[in-house]
């Protein structure tokens, strides 16, 4: 894998730079190598799709980039912060200020309404958008006072996205956001993510099992066995409605 393929276009400054990322889980006697020396650069505003078989280390990588986990070896930089070696409090502040997460299982707070789930984040950020605006973005401006139990899976995932973007994060990290959704609903959710990337300029990294989604990305990372197995650049980004999977 050459320098030319791993480096982002020179025009935009890199938002993430990682070198030699290694993660070893110690399971009693055996060591599980989840990451085996990963190098990467991500330019601001890029849309990256991360593909790879189950167990290849995708979530581990995303968690490290999002400040949820720390690598065993190697270095990660976010703009001019070094994430490796940061304290727990620094990582919390990093997540609070810069990162939006979206998970497969939505992770909404069942005891709070749509609006309040978003407000949970806007209450603790510096320059958030109004919860109503964030929900408008995901097409749920009409469902402000519904509780999660009153929403479909796709709607819940869109609330999770609204919650993730309401603080105007620089990066949006999505771990299999369509994994629990049906085809049509999944498309709707991906469309929202793509629009946010295009219109707000939020850097997006999306993990998926579904190779068809790759067409939406600027670049596609292929993961295998804890390593970056290949990087492809799409000449033209497709919109979600153009995909077929």
């Amino acid at each position: 894998m050459s320098e030319a393929t791993t480096t982002a276009p020179a025009a935009a400054p890199p938002i993430f730079v990682a070198r030699g990322l290694t993660k070893i889980y110690r399971m009693g006697e055996v060591d599980v190598h989840a990451l085996r020396g990963v190098d990467l650069d991500v330019a601001a505003g890029e849309f990256i799709v991360l593909l790879g078989p189950s167990g290849s280390g995708k979530s581990t990588l995303l968690n490290i980039l999002g400040g949820l986990d720390v690598p065993t070896a190697g270095e990660v930089r976010f703009l001019d912060h070094t994430l490796t070696g940061a304290t727990e409090a620094e990582l919390t502040r990093y997540r609070r200020e810069h990162v939006g997460f979206v998970f497969q299982f939505y992770n909404l707070i069942p005891s709070l309404t749509t609006r309040e789930n978003v407000a949970l984040v806007t209450d603790i950020s510096e320059h958030p958008m109004a919860p109503e605006e964030a929900l408008e973005w995901v097409g749920l401006g009409e469902r402000l006072d519904h509780f999660p139990s009153q929403l479909s899976g796709g709607e819940q995932q869109r609330v999770a996205i609204a919650r993730a973007i309401a603080k105007r994060p620089q990066v949006l990290l999505c771990d299999e956001p369509t994994g629990a959704l049906d085809y049509e609903t999944g498309k709707l959710v991906l469309d929202v993510i793509a629009r946010i990337n295009a219109e707000l300029g939020t850097t997006a990294i999306v993990i998926t099992h579904n190779a068809a989604i790759a067409g939406m990305a600027d670049r596609v990372w292929r993961f295998a066995n804890g390593r970056m197995a290949g990087i492809e650049r799409n000449p033209r980004k497709l919109s979600a409605s153009e995909l077929s999977w």
Binding site: F105, P110, S125, D145
Partner: protein, 803 residues
């Protein structure tokens, strides 16, 4: 080992802290139950054995001077198996180095017969504790009750002086003894009197000679043939005793009897019985509260276990395990917890029972105190705990068994929430999202929140019920000894003396005020009911001996009428406006039928109050009195007490302050122990409830809390969400616990009301404060332990799986 059993062990290990905390709550319940019941049983058994071995009489009577030949006629009363006659005198006692005059009850015993013939004493057998029997014929040698020698540090060979019939006699202590009549030693009150009241046994001949009582007796005790069949050694109210007492009264009538009575009215027996009864009450109420709380926690924990394992349960079901096997699995989980609780409880109960029984030896003097923890008590306690545990578990098990495999395999849908009641009422928008999460969680599970509040409130109530005794006893002392009896010194005369003794007394050093009154022993009758009580005549406007009604304040007797303590009126079945007949036991043994002017709710005593002039007129005496109250200059008190030793006719001198000091020091220590134990129990319960609740919440909401951490919330912010709910529950529980504690204490004082006295329900603010603080501290400790777990929440792994 079967797979299911291996899972059981692993589950237990995962929730080990919870298992231990629940087992501890159960242990407190069982321990409290066993301790109370075993103390109750031990006291009953020890008393029963001692009464039998020492041949404690069934019926007692005193007379002025009855001829010895009467003994044979008394023995002929049907139902009487043995008779003991003797001379008993209350005299002034002087111990070198003690300023205050003391009282001794001198009892004549046939020394020669006991020593020479090694004849077993017919009744009230003495157990020689130290030293030897007095030598026959050696007039100056005596035995004293063991307790008095101990508290006064009187070695064998010490000399004491008594005023025998006006003559000062030197006596040498050659031994100390115990007697079934004086298990609890008192001149008459319910307070222990060990320091100021001694029992002296001396040669009957010498005592009789001193009082010119040769060939006569003034005290008689009887044993009844079927006495052993009387339950618990009580002889009150049974027909045989009543018949024997009536016949005995008839025989002694010409010899100045004060009326016979059964064991129920024998003072030592009465105080002991009330204490034993109290022990039984405490042994049932408090453990019931503990077991209730334990059952509740067990229930919640098991419910949670089941919910967390719905996936596994579904898998087991899919593999072909039947409902019974799975249900049984959870019942086993509960059994292990309960069994641990029972084992610890037995150890705790045994230790506590021995300790409490030991504390009783301070008050009750038995030759040997046998501690028993009988198997049936252990079995009963264990059974109750098992039932409570299983009861709590069964509801949860029903849930498991009802689960359909497919249903259980699906992750649970997001829990349903609704806007808060407040919001629905239009009062919303008050709270932040965090506060709303807390409130909605409480509102969504009102049952669980209520259970938590109930559990914590229960422990608040237990602390109150264990701590209010100090308030109550202080209030009791205040009313009885400061309001009702404000004088410093109270004197009792051996025989009625002219009312003019007032002037003699007021000339003694330091005496500033003197008031006299008279108490006459009497049998009160109303219809077929009767009761032996002292009738006290008070001078008009008496201020040193007041009749205090705890509900209405000071009362005074009306002319030609009696005022009865409520408890006496209740025994006689009379009320204001009714009449009672007084059969007086002094002088001409007059009878009079009087109107009941009213009843007074007095904390202590069983009294009948009259005006002094009315009483003397009925007795047929002139202006005489039998007691005096003295207000004394503190500086001159010692001089006064020394002079009182030479005043003839004074049988008892009660110095209020010294009496109270002794009472306070012994009682305070026992109350402290009791309060301490209950506080620890309550703290264990509070920790059990709060900690388990927090752990369950944490497990159920770990995923939610981890999500919030991912969103950038700090550990502190996330902790507030979880612990905020508990804090709210504790805040709700404290006032609820105050109310519950009040009623629990009310229940306890009501059930322990004795005949001699009742404990007033007084709970002062510091007691409430202490109870609240105990629970808050327990809550904070539990919160800190759980907080540690929140801090170490593994975000990545929590988020990997749903639930």
């Amino acid at each position: 080992m079967k797979a299911l059993d291996r899972k059981l062990l692993r589950d237990l290990w995962t929730i080990k802290t919870q298992v231990v905390s629940i087992a501890l709550v159960i242990a407190c319940g069982i321990g409290g139950f066993l301790a109370s019941m075993s103390t109750h049983e031990s006291l009953l058994l020890t008393r029963g054995q001692y009464y039998d071995a020492a041949r404690f009489p069934h019926v007692f009577a005193e007379a002025r001077r009855a001829p010895d030949f009467l003994a044979a006629r008394i023995a002929d009363i049907p139902g009487v198996s043995a008779v003991q006659t003797r001379v008993v005198r209350d005299v002034q006692l002087d111990v070198p180095g003690v300023v205050q005059p003391m009282t001794a009850r001198v009892i004549g015993i046939p020394v020669a017969a006991i020593v020479d013939a090694a004849l077993p004493q017919a009744m009230n057998r003495l157990s020689l504790k130290t030293g030897r029997w007095p030598a026959p014929g050696a007039a100056g040698e005596v035995l004293v009750n063991n307790r008095f020698a101990e508290v006064r540090k009187l070695a064998l060979g010490s000399e004491i002086r008594v005023l025998l019939n006006g003559k000062r006699e030197r006596l040498t202590i050659v031994g100390t003894a115990l007697s079934p009549e004086f298990i609890f030693v008192t001149r008459g009150g319910a307070l222990p009197d060990d320091e100021w009241f001694a029992v002296i046994w001396m040669d009957a001949g010498a005592l009789a000679a001193a009082y010119n009582m040769e060939g006569a007796f003034n005290s008689v005790a009887l044993r009844l043939a079927d006495g052993s069949r009387v339950r618990d050694g009580e002889t009150a109210g049974d027909a045989t005793t009543a018949a024997v007492v009536a016949e005995l009264d008839r025989l002694l009538e010409p010899y100045g009897t004060r009326g016979g009575y059964g064991r129920a009215e024998q003072i030592s027996h009465k105080v002991l019985s009330q204490e034993i009864e109290q022990q039984r009450v405490m042994g049932t109420i408090l453990p019931a509260v503990f077991l209730l709380v334990a059952a509740f926690i067990l229930n919640v924990v098991l419910h949670r276990q089941v919910n967390a394992q719905r996936g596994e349960i579904a898998a087991f079901k899919a593999l072909g395990y039947d409902d019974l096997a799975i249900g049984f699995h959870y019942l086993k989980l509960a059994s292990v917890v309960v069994a641990m609780g029972i084992l610890m409880g037995i150890g705790l109960g045994d230790w506590l029972g021995r300790t409490i029984t030991g504390l009783y030896t301070e008050f009750f003097r038995f030759p040997t105190l046998n501690y028993v923890l009988s198997p049936w008590v252990v079995a009963a306690g264990s059974l109750v705990a098992l039932l409570a545990g299983f009861g709590g578990t069964l509801a949860a098990i029903r849930g498991v068994v009802a689960l359909k495999p497919a249903e259980a395999l699906r992750p649970p849908a997001p829990a349903e929430f609704r806007p808060l009641l407040l919001e629905r009422l239009g009062l919303g928008r008050l709270a932040t999202p965090s506060q709303r999460m807390i409130l909605r969680n409480i509102e969504r599970r009102p049952g669980r929140a209520a259970m938590t509040v109930a559990g914590i409130a229960g422990s608040v109530a237990i602390v109150i019920s264990g701590t209010f005794w100090t308030d109550a006893v202080n209030h009791f002392i205040d009313i009885q000894f400061h309001v009702a009896q404000p004088a410093a010194v109270y004197l009792g005369f051996a025989e009625p003396v002219p009312e003019s003794v007032r002037f003699d007394l007021s000339r003694l050093p330091g005496v500033r005020q003197v008031e006299t009154s008279r108490t006459v022993g009497a049998r009160l009758r109303a219809g077929h009911r009767s009761y032996r009580a002292g009738v006290t005549g008070l001078a008009e406007g008496a201020q040193l001996q007041r009749i205090i009604d705890v509900d209405t304040g000071q009362a005074a007797p009306a002319p030609d009428a009696v005022l009865l303590t409520t408890r006496v009126a209740r025994r006689l079945g009379v009320g204001p406006g009714d009449t009672v007949t007084l059969e007086l036991m002094e002088g001409r043994r007059a009878q009079a039928t009087l109107r009941v002017a009213g009843t007074v709710h007095e904390l202590a005593g069983m009294n009948a109050w009259m005006r002094l002039a009315d009483l003397n007129r009925i007795v047929g005496d002139g202006p005489v009195v039998s007691t005096a109250a003295l207000v004394v200059d503190r500086a001159d008190q010692d001089a006064l007490l020394t002079r009182l030793k030479d005043v003839p006719g004074v049988a008892t001198v009660i110095v209020k302050s010294t009496l109270l000091d002794t009472f306070r020091s012994t009682t305070a220590r026992n109350l402290l122990f009791y309060t301490g134990v209950l506080t620890i129990f309550a703290a264990i319960i509070a920790v059990g409830v709060v900690y388990n609740n927090a752990r369950i919440q944490l497990a159920e909401r770990a995923w939610e809390l981890a999500s919030l951490r991912v969103l950038g919330m700090t550990r502190g912010e996330v902790s507030v969400l979880l612990l905020g709910e508990l804090a709210m529950e504790i805040l709700l529980a404290i006032p609820a616990g105050f109310v519950a504690g009040y009623y629990l204490s009310l229940l306890i004082v009501t059930l322990t009301h004795g005949e001699a006295f009742e404990i007033p329900l007084v709970i002062l603010p510091p007691t409430y404060l202490y109870a609240g603080a105990t629970v808050v501290i327990a809550g904070v400790v539990s919160a800190l332990i759980v907080r540690n777990r929140i801090d170490n929440l593994d975000l990545v792994s929590v988020l990997k799986t749903r639930e």
